[in-house]
Amino acid sequence: MKAIPLAYSVRNLWTRKLTTALTAGGMALVVFVFAAVLMLDAGLRQAMVSTGQPDNIVVTRRSAGSEVQSGVERPQAALVEAQPEVVTASKETVVLIAQHKRDSGTVSNVTVRGLSPQGIALRPQVRLAAGRMFSPASTEIVVGRSIAQRFAGTGVGERLRFGARDWLVVGVFDAGGSAFDSEIWGDVDQMMQSFRRQAYSSVIARLADPAAFDALKRRLESDPRLTVDVKRERQFYEEQSAALSGFISILGLTLSVIFSIGAMIGAMITMYAAVAGRTGEIGALRALGFRRRAILAAFLAEALALAALGWALGLAAASLMQLVHISTMNWQSFGELAFSFTLTPKIVLQSLAFAAVMGFTGGVLPALRAARLSIVDALRAA
């Protein structure tokens, strides 16, 4: 097919600057929402996935939705620890404490984890960012980076009061953007005492051979002395975010689709006007020998160029969102979780496809109208 030069389509966008800006702007806003939602979901998943180590497992009470809801009695915990596949095990207690946020003063639930030195070793992604690690058997605590930023009284040297005791913050740790960044860690036995707990919340363990997981899982879950769920740490954390992730995706994508209808209508109005204003040119092009298909392609190209412009602007704005950090209650664990917007190459392509669909759908009907004009009518109406 002999096509009308692309310059014809693209330059026409440049002559009507205001219209192009408004139409592309509308599409940019939709692409922004679409990309931002995907980025938020990706950020949430990344926070969760990076929390899990490939050779760690998490043992909780059967059907417990989170560690906070779970209780593993001491004898049961000892049994898990004694399994041959387990190299290191950490018996941990996880609770939520209500703390005031720094800026707004509102109260939110913070996850507090009592663990042992083995537990710290099981999380190699955690590094000290300030101060030092807490001493075992003391009332010292260390806080995750996100907690230190957001919550009052969590700076190094400050004291937090909970469980009828004062706890001294001796360090801040960086967990590489994973869920642990939103936790406070301390000695497990001190915490159990303080909270008057008899049972642990969970047992975290590293396997000598990750492939031994299935056999271990079967054995533990069918043991009549135990009522536990055994999961790979990655899977455990993935499930922790499933509800929130699902909510974000569904709500966000529904909104994007609805908004895109508005943007498509805008594109349609613009393209209909473009066709109406250029019927003389269309007639001349057809007279010169360009086929209907070429006319259709030229106007579709114009609509797609609009969409591409909107995509570029929208994606640029969305990528700025990477500077924003979100902290909200994770519904599954009931505790505060910090994560951010993450831009992936996949999202770049998905938003491009989304923009292309918007451009095509908005432009196809006007382009068809342009192509269907008879030459005589087009020249006459000019």
């Binding site: 009308i4 030069p5 014809y8 330059r11 003389g280 007639g283 020249l379």
Partner: protein, 239 residues
């Protein structure tokens, strides 16, 4: 397959055309037959609504008659399907419109180049043809200007360059001087005359301007769908 090589470039045989206007059928051309010889410069005149533009559209292959045939250089264009007709137009006909119909977003050069993009010529070859065409109409130094930067007369000359860049045998012009001042009109008409004399292009020009018509070699009058000729009907040619 041998083609008849006749002295006539265009043979119109029993052509009829009518339009539907507001539910009514208005006959415009009825059983028209005439020839246009190769190298003719024909002026078509007549009162408004007489169908002269309609006839021009039929000759140029941008409209189809209800009945009859039109042969251009031996090819019956009334039998061609739309896609073949498009290709035929690209090769055989050059258009000059009253309101120029240049693409405002393309430069003079790009406008003249447009018909060549339908041919298999390379970019360099296209450039040569465009330069030649622009040179012929005397607008070489305006090649990079947009239509909005050109006067009416200059725009029409660009349109003429576009019309001849593919070296068509036939050039149709619909009121080419209708929107121009006297001097520009004279330039355009002398240009058309030059194309006819020097390059042997067959030209069919619709006009209501008697002065323009005088540049043509022959004049036909179209009135109520019927063609007639002769100077004795000159009085009737007022618009």
């Amino acid at each position: 397959m041998s083609r008849r090589v006749s002295p006539s470039l265009i043979e119109v045989r029993n052509v009829s055309k009518s339009y539907r206007r507001g539910g009514q059928i208005v006959p415009v051309l009825h059983d028209l037959s005439f020839d246009v010889l190769r190298g003719d410069f024909l002026g078509l005149m007549g009162p408004s609504g007489s169908g002269k533009s309609t006839l021009l559209n039929l000759l140029a292959g941008i409209d189809q008659p209800d009945a009859g045939e039109i042969l251009v250089d031996g090819v019956d264009i009334t039998r061609l399907p739309e896609s073949d007709l498009a290709d035929w137009r690209a090769a055989a006909v050059g258009f000059v419109f009253q309101f120029y119909n240049l693409m405002p977003v393309l430069t003079a050069f790009e406008n003249v180049e447009l018909p060549l993009t339908l041919t298999p010529l390379s970019r360099r070859e296209r450039r040569e043809h465009v330069a030649a065409a622009l040179g012929l109409v005397g607008l070489t130094e305006r090649a990079e200007h947009y239509p909005s930067e050109l006067s009416g007369g200059q725009q029409q000359r660009v349109a003429i360059a576009r019309a001849l860049v593919t070296d068509p045998k036939l050039i149709v012009a619909d009121e080419p001087t209708g929107d121009l001042d006297r001097q520009s009109a004279a330039e355009v008409l002398s240009l058309l005359g030059q194309l006819n004399d020097q390059f042997g292009k067959t030209i069919v020009m619709v006009t209501h301007d008697r002065r323009a018509a005088e540049h043509a070699h022959a004049i036909k009058y179209l009135d109520k769908g019927e063609l007639s000729e002769g100077a004795d009907l000159l009085e009737r040619s007022v618009r």
